[in-house]
Symmetry: C2
Subunit: 262 residues, 2 copies
């Protein structure tokens, strides 16, 4: 019997009736074919993860009756991914994979050579929620509205370090650069910045290199697509500075193997 | 003016006329709209990379006249990716990203809980060639025919180490495990093994753990899709053990920024 795991905006506590949106109700009834009383897992990014049961209300609506907490709330590492938007299918992939790889914030950034002029933020948010549901996260990454690179640099938060993936070959290898960080730097909040397929313009590179606490790194001798570079840098950061030192949650195997992916 | 970079089976040397296949000729003429004499880059996995010019022959065929070598041949790290096949769009992604991340061999592996019964090896090969053309590799990964996990273990090559991504949470974190390797182990040939979405069966896990030179690792507290796990493990391996210590090739910027992706 498969268990559906859902994100909700509702507060979660024993006995609460969390309303389910129309899309969620449709998914549970008609895609998953769950019936009244089906077991669900809910999280909202604040109250941990809870067991709940499905309560069907009329033809199109449903609610979840919240029962017991399965996991207390825990934060993801304070890591932003700042990325120049790429084509639709690939940007969906960035949102999905970055969520699995544990980012806290997804920040699209327009640069001089960015070929894509528009970002569908709502679509990215939906993709991030779906990935968070599947990856056992207790939070959903915040998907921010796109900004220009110049504005991002001007309003850069004090104390947040920047890992800049520099395809011009200017930086040391990522493993060497991350290993060389002092313990204080390792604990700071970070952001990873990935440029557009066409690379940063020279003036952009210069402005980035003038920032405080910027670490330029290279990702090896092969040219990576922007989406691949984002995922590779995230994986290396999590493995070396992030929370991959924590164990994988031990889930009951019947839950793992029966999980149905949407 | 964009330059197309193509893989060819032909031997490459000054003055050679390398025949171009029908699909390549169509792509160059009708997608890229190249004309007679257009500049190309060719590689074959043996002779390095060469400048060439396009020679159009009739309506549907074309050849490349090979001129000067731009880079001598260099090997990729001796790294295999052994992976349980996933659904079509996601397996294409694994082939593309693994090529960018520098694998030498792609080995599909059927396991007990593998949901996909068939692998289109020719399609994976085509995806690997296209990714190799775009990622500036001088080789194309070898895409092998699928094998059963039991057969893979029985015929495991002596001296090849196995990095096993163990979602049951049995392994230490990947960065810790790779850092702890002795220098001889770091230089050995390696393979990365990623299980199916449903996890390995208990008997499979036991057989894998009985292998010589197997390193089980965890990829952190979030459950990763199989394709994400493959890319994350590849990135960490390349950063910590592979060739990411080598610099990114410095390409002329007009070449980089005008490269058109297919």
């Amino acid at each position: 019997m498969s268990v559906s795991r859902l994100f909700t905006e509702a507060d979660l506590a024993r006995g609460v009736e969390a309303p389910l949106g129309g899309a969620q109700a449709h998914y549970l009834r008609h895609v998953m074919r769950h019936e009244e009383g089906a077991r669900l897992l809910l999280f909202n990014g604040r109250d941990g993860e809870w067991n709940a049961t499905l309560s069907l209300r009329g033809k199109k609506s449903a609610a979840a009756i919240v029962e017991t907490q399965t996991r207390p709330q825990a934060a993801e590492p304070d890591l932003w991914l700042c990325f120049a938007p790429v084509k639709s299918a690939r940007i969906d992939l960035v949102a999905e994979k970055a969520t699995e790889l544990g980012v806290a914030v997804l920040q699209p950034v327009f640069t001089r050579h960015t070929a894509v002029a528009r970002v569908n933020v709502e679509r990215l948010r939906a993709g991030a929620i779906e990935a968070a549901e599947q990856t056992e996260r207790l939070t959903v990454p915040e998907v921010r509205a796109p900004v220009e690179l110049g504005g991002l640099i001007d309003r850069w938060p004090v104390g947040r370090r920047l890992l800049m993936c520099d395809e011009t070959g200017g930086g040391p290898p990522i493993a060497e650069a991350l290993t060389a960080l002092d313990p204080a730097a390792r604990r700071d909040p970070w952001a990873i910045l990935i440029g557009p397929e066409g690379g940063f313009a020279r003036a952009e590179l210069e402005a980035l290199r003038r920032m405080k606490d910027v670490t330029s790194v290279g990702l090896g001798p092969r040219i990576l697509r922007a989406d691949t570079a984002a995922l590779a840098a995230l994986a290396c950061w999590q493995a070396m500075l992030g929370d991959w030192g924590k164990p994988t949650p031990r889930l009951a195997s019947d839950y793992r193997t029966s999980r149905t992916s949407r």
